[in-house]
């Protein structure tokens, strides 16, 4: 189930939720705030979204991943608001019988998420200043 939340993401709970008796693989991807970018020290990221559309796109990613790959379940969760270094802004969890499709699906979801979902992030820098991270134009 796709989630868009202003709270901290609980990667452990999201991962445990997809440990299934009928699956041999659980793969959990955490996209975390990195404290540097292009040589500048980053103090935080701040995310915003066009929430109803972003949630529908996250749900579409889950559905399409289940259709395209041999996986049994997947969840995509994105945090909004301020995310400090080392904390996850996005958690993708995939469960599958075999490991190959889990890797393929998880990677595909992240690639698509960055192209299709109306979410934006702004970097704040040590010493002041902030900038929107350059992104990808949505294609209709």
């Amino acid at each position: 189930m796709a989630t868009l939340t202003h709270d901290m993401l609980d990667a452990a709970a999201l991962t445990a939720a997809l440990q299934r008796r009928d699956c041999g693989t659980v793969l959990a991807f955490l996209g975390t705030t990195r404290d540097h970018h292009d040589g500048r020290r980053v103090t935080q990221l701040a995310y915003e979204a066009y929430e109803p559309m972003a949630l529908r796109e996250l749900e579409a990613l889950e559905r399409e991943a289940r259709e395209q790959f041999e996986i049994e379940a997947c969840t995509v969760s994105h945090r909004l608001g301020v995310v400090p270094p080392a904390e996850p802004s996005v958690v993708v969890v995939v469960a599958s019988h075999h490991r190959g499709p889990a890797f393929d699906a998880c990677r595909w979801i992240m690639d698509e998420l960055k192209k299709r979902v109306p979410i934006w992030k702004k970097e704040s820098y040590a010493g002041g200043g902030e900038e929107w991270v350059s992104g990808t134009k949505l294609e209709s």
Partner: protein
């Protein structure tokens, strides 16, 4: 027709507002809305070619017809994840 316009990220900052009400002649298209917004919010001009537009949550093209009462969202290049 009347539209509820939403500005996000750079568009919000450049417009100086998160939303606005826009009144246009019946039969207007997405391009007409962007033209009218560019007049009202000069700061949007440099961003215009980078914007995608959604009508009622669905991406639309410049020539697509607008619907009265629609929610029109101005979406800068996305950077989620």
């Amino acid at each position: 027709m009347q539209l509820n316009v939403l500005f996000f990220a750079q568009a919000r900052e450049r417009a100086g507002a998160a939303s606005a009400t826009l009144t246009l002649p019946d039969g207007s298209c997405v391009r007409d809305a962007l033209d009218a917004l560019a007049l009202e919010y000069e700061g949007l001009a440099p961003l215009r070619s980078h914007l995608a537009v959604a009508q009622n949550g669905v991406l639309v093209r410049a020539g697509d017809a607008l619907r009265d009462g629609a929610e029109l969202a101005l979406l800068p290049p996305v950077s989620g994840g």
